[in-house]
């Protein structure tokens, strides 16, 4: 059973999001910062009349910011528990078909990645880490703090 995956580049690494979960991919014009929010919450934007919570994926992974969120404008829009989120990524270009079901990762993918990945999937474009939306939105740091 083939699944369509959106190839998303975060911190220079190629990862995958299940395509049906993705609402659209847009370039954000401006982001309104949210004071005192978690560090990975880059701010608010609007998709037509709906508010979009912008998540800086790099920060959500707990990785050192590089170039800052301001430089990245490409956002993957997803809906999670009734709210719209824009995931700031380096790139989101291709949609590829998977060759098999998602399976275990196999080896430790490294800090940040290990929390945010729900598995590994083989696709036409090679092996991709499958992202866990809930963790990404909550932020790895926040999750660690709560635990």
């Amino acid at each position: 059973m083939s699944v369509m995956m959106l190839v998303v580049v975060i911190a220079g690494r190629r990862t995958g999001l299940p395509a049906p979960a993705v609402n659209s991919v847009i370039d954000l014009a401006s982001i309104t910062p949210v004071p005192r929010a978690a560090p990975h919450v880059a701010g608010l934007a609007a998709l037509r009349s709906r508010p979009l919570t912008v998540i800086d994926c790099r920060a959500a992974l707990g990785l050192e910011p590089e170039g800052g969120a301001a430089a990245r404008r490409r956002a993957v829009v997803v809906e999670h528990e009734g709210h719209l989120y824009g995931l700031l990524v380096d790139a989101a270009d291709a949609i590829v078909a998977s060759r098999a079901e998602a399976g275990p990762i196999g080896a430790d993918p490294g800090p940040g990645w290990r929390e945010v990945a729900s598995g590994r999937i083989e696709t036409e474009a090679g092996a991709l880490l499958v992202l866990d939306l809930a963790v990404l939105i909550q932020g790895v740091g926040a999750r660690a703090a709560a635990a």
């Binding site: 004071p35 608010l44 709210h83």
Partner: protein
């Protein structure tokens, strides 16, 4: 078929809801034919509808109820208690069956026989067939005569957000048209589109509103069942059910209201025996009212029960270790009553089936505050308790002020904004206590919070230039004030509030977000959370008696408004009494002199500060004074400035209405006695009663008594005119024709029992005049 069934379930449920209060009203007055008809129509409709579906139990039940009620209608039976109970039970059973039908469960073969037997009661089986016109159309209850359709709320929300997007698109179009400049030939159709859009937006907003009586209608039944369980008698009075509220808000306040009503019936209202012993009517009274002021709905729940036992609450708090003995000793009664919000405190002696089950007032209050409401309690021992809930009209549209701090725009709900003040005028005083700045506003020291600092935003532009600071004076639900410093204040908007994602809500500083016309998202501040989060003590909410007494320095520095009176005198009026100052043409003044009135907007107020003789200037400055309930206008030539009263006030003899003379900035000023002003004009606010001054000592009465009578708010009646009151001399016996009330005068200073008031006992005369006025007014 499915659609039909859904329709049947929804319609039946709606009718049941509307019926709940009708049944209780019918029970109170079984002779009420209109209510009986309503209930009869309901069971008849249900029976009729059952014909379409296969619900034999439902049909049998409604048929039996219809028969019984038909007998009552035909006068063959009276609606006794047993019948009412049975009818109520049938309605409940129908409700339960409807639930099951909706769930798709088939009705089991329950036994309805006992219920049907109870309905038949001791009356002989109805041998006369119920004479209902066959095939009469289902009639909905009288309360809902408008044609209605049912829509899922999601659909309305979808339309609503569609309209919001159209508004944004319209604004974008407007901007582009402006950029094109000049005449592009689109202005007329554009403005038409724009107007239509506004109309649609208003209409769609209204679809979210619902009358609150749908919620209120369930209360009589609730109270009836509760009081029956508790062996009490309680009447419910509902007021102003026509107030409209956002349907989501109605759902949100349902639980808090039910909780408070349960408490009131269980703890508040005494048993009939206790009430009799206390000299009250055996049946308690519970009043539930709704009222709209601006964008706030006030819901009051009032009982005439025993009130909250503040001391017992305090004792419990002590026993539970929530407060220390010292703290309790320092508490006022109001503060003790607020202990009901402490988790885990209840005055209930025992846990009953109705309340005291662990969900306390703390939870109720928290739930109300969660959606921007507030809850206040007032209670008088032996007299009853009053709960006042305030909630915003709607969750989705919030009148707001947009402000800027640290280069970023935020929305502030307008309901919190008391006033906006600027340091530019140089009138503001600041004190620094440690790192905390305090702003003195209307005699109160308000802690200042800087929005930019709270949010850790860089100070953009404003820098250290404190002279240009802007402060919003914010009033939180409990009378806690604070001043929020912002960089700029833009405008007032009606904002459509959208929920934020949980990640952002977590930081607890925002209630939602909205979009400006250009589509930029703007965060709306939770000013209560920001205030309390920055350390505004909640305890400040009631300046306790001790606190007031301990700060004489603050009280001394009374802020006053300095003015030139019409007679040219320099006067001062306490700033706290001044509500508004305006310029008014003298044509608005009626009856110059002691009984003068002035028309201000839609109000007619008694006007002080005008003498009887002098001509009025063409324009006057009028100060609207208020004591919270009444208003009195004060005429002046001009307002000079606002000053602090620091010097001593020396009293002046023979000048009623003046508290004394004081020095302000080295010059004398007369301090207006607001108390005397209101004492005098409060009475005068009612239509003046007339007083006859005639008799043997005619001349003395006119010249000596006249001024007192007028000062008490009376009009002096003309010769021979019937009057409300009159003075009569001790000697002449009757002579009180055409008089509603007479005050007897005596010319002997000794206190002779049965004699009148000594003619020079000024205090007693005033008291008698005021008393007579009150009695006549009552």
């Amino acid at each position: 078929m499915d659609d039909l069934l859904t329709e049947f379930v929804a319609e039946t449920r709606e009718m049941l809801g509307a019926l709940a209060s009708e049944v209780v009203a019918w029970e109170a007055d079984p002779a009420d034919r209109a209510r009986l008809d309503t209930i009869f129509r309901f069971v008849h409709t249900v029976k009729g509808n059952c014909g379409f579906f296969d619900f034999p139990r439902l049909a049998a039940l409604s048929h039996a109820a219809e028969d019984a009620l038909a007998d009552v209608r035909a006068g063959q039976r009276s609606a006794d208690r047993r019948l009412v109970d049975a009818v109520l039970a049938v309605l409940d059973r129908i409700g339960a069956m409807i639930e099951e039908i909706e769930r798709g469960a088939s009705l089991d073969d329950g036994n309805d026989e006992p219920l049907i037997a109870a309905l038949k009661g001791e009356a002989e089986p109805a041998d006369a067939p119920a004479s209902m016109p066959a095939g009469s159309t289902p009639v909905s209850p009288a309360t809902a005569e408008q044609r209605t359709i049912r829509l899922p709320v999601e659909l309305i929300d979808q339309v609503m957000s569609g309209v919001s997007e159209m508004v944004l698109a319209r604004n974008d179009l407007a901007r582009r048209m402006q950029a094109m400049g000049g005449d592009c030939g689109l202005e007329a159709p554009f403005s038409r589109l724009s107007a239509l859009l506004s109309e649609v937006r208003d209409a769609i907003t209204r679809t979210r509103m619902r009358r609150i009586d749908g919620l209120f209608a369930t209360f009589p039944r609730l109270v009836r069942d509760l009081s029956a369980d508790l062996g009490k008698q309680v009447f419910v009075e509902l007021e102003n059910g026509e107030v409209e509220l956002d349907r989501e808000m109605i759902e949100l306040i349902r639980d808090p209201l039910v909780h408070i009503i349960r408490n009131a019936v269980d703890h508040g209202i005494e048993s009939p025996a206790e009430r009799r012993a206390a000299g009250k009517r055996e049946a308690g009274l519970l009043t539930v009212s709704a009222r709209q002021t601006g964008n706030t709905i006030h819901i009051g729940i009032m009982d005439d029960g025993r009130g909250i036992d503040a001391d017992r609450l305090a004792a419990k708090a002590l026993a539970a270790g929530i407060r220390t003995g010292e703290q309790i000793a320092a508490m006022s009664r109001e503060e003790k009553i607020e202990l009901v919000y402490e988790p885990g405190l209840s005055t209930a002696e025992s846990v009953t089936a109705i309340s005291g089950r662990g969900v306390g007032m703390d939870v109720v209050r928290a739930n109300i505050e969660k959606f921007g409401g507030s809850l206040e309690i007032e209670s008088l021992p032996g007299e009853g308790t009053r709960f006042q809930i305030r909630v915003p009209l709607t969750l989705s549209i919030l009148p707001s002020v947009t402000v800027e701090a640290g280069g970023q725009t935020f929305g502030v709900p307008r309901s919190y904004v008391e006033e906006i003040v600027s340091t530019a005028g140089g009138n503001l005083e600041f004190d620094e206590v440690g790192d905390r700045r305090f702003l003195t506003f209307r005699g109160r020291r308000l802690p200042c919070i800087s929005l930019g600092e709270t949010f850790g935003l860089a100070d953009v532009g404003a820098g250290e230039d404190e002279d240009a600071s802007l402060f919003m004076i914010l009033r939180l639900g409990w009378g806690d004030f604070y001043a929020l410093a912002v960089d700029r204040i833009f405008d007032h908007h009606e904002l459509v509030i959208k929920p934020l994602s949980p990640g952002i809500m977590q930081c607890g500083l925002f209630v939602g977000c909205t979009q400006l016309d250009d589509g930029t998202p703007v965060l709306v501040l939770d000013v209560a959370a920001i205030g309390y989060g920055a350390g505004i003590p909640r305890e400040l909410r009631r300046p306790g008696i001790a606190a007031v007494a301990a700060t004489p320095a603050e009280r001394e520095a009374l802020r006053v408004v300095l003015l030139h009176g019409l007679d040219g005198e320099r006067r001062a009026i306490a700033m706290s009494a001044v509500e508004q100052v305006e310029r008014v043409a003298s044509a608005a003044v009626r009856h110059p002199g002691p009984g003068a009135r002035i028309v201000l907007g839609e109000e007619i107020l008694p006007l002080a500060g005008v003498s009887g003789t002098g001509d009025l200037p063409e324009w006057l400055t009028v100060l609207r004074l208020g004591d919270g309930q009444r208003r009195v206008a004060y005429a002046a030539r001009e307002v000079l400035e606002i000053a602090s009263l620091t010097g001593a006030v020396s009293p002046v003899e023979g000048r009623p209405g003046l508290a004394g003379v004081t020095l302000i900035d080295g010059e004398p000023a007369e301090l207006v006695d607001c108390h005397a002003l209101f004492a005098r004009h409060a009475n005068a606010a009612a239509p003046a009663l007339s007083c006859r001054l005639a008799g043997e000592a005619d001349g003395w009465m006119r010249s000596f008594l006249g001024p007192i009578v007028e000062a008490a708010g009376y009009r002096i009646a003309a010769e021979g005119e019937p009057a409300d009151i009159a003075f009569i001399e001790d000697e002449d016996g009757g002579a009180a024709a055409g008089i509603r009330k007479a005050i007897r005068l005596s010319d002997r200073p000794e206190d002779v029992p049965g004699a009148g008031i000594y003619r020079y006992d000024r205090a007693a005369l005033m008291a008698a005049l005021l008393r007579a006025g009150q009695e006549l007014a009552a």
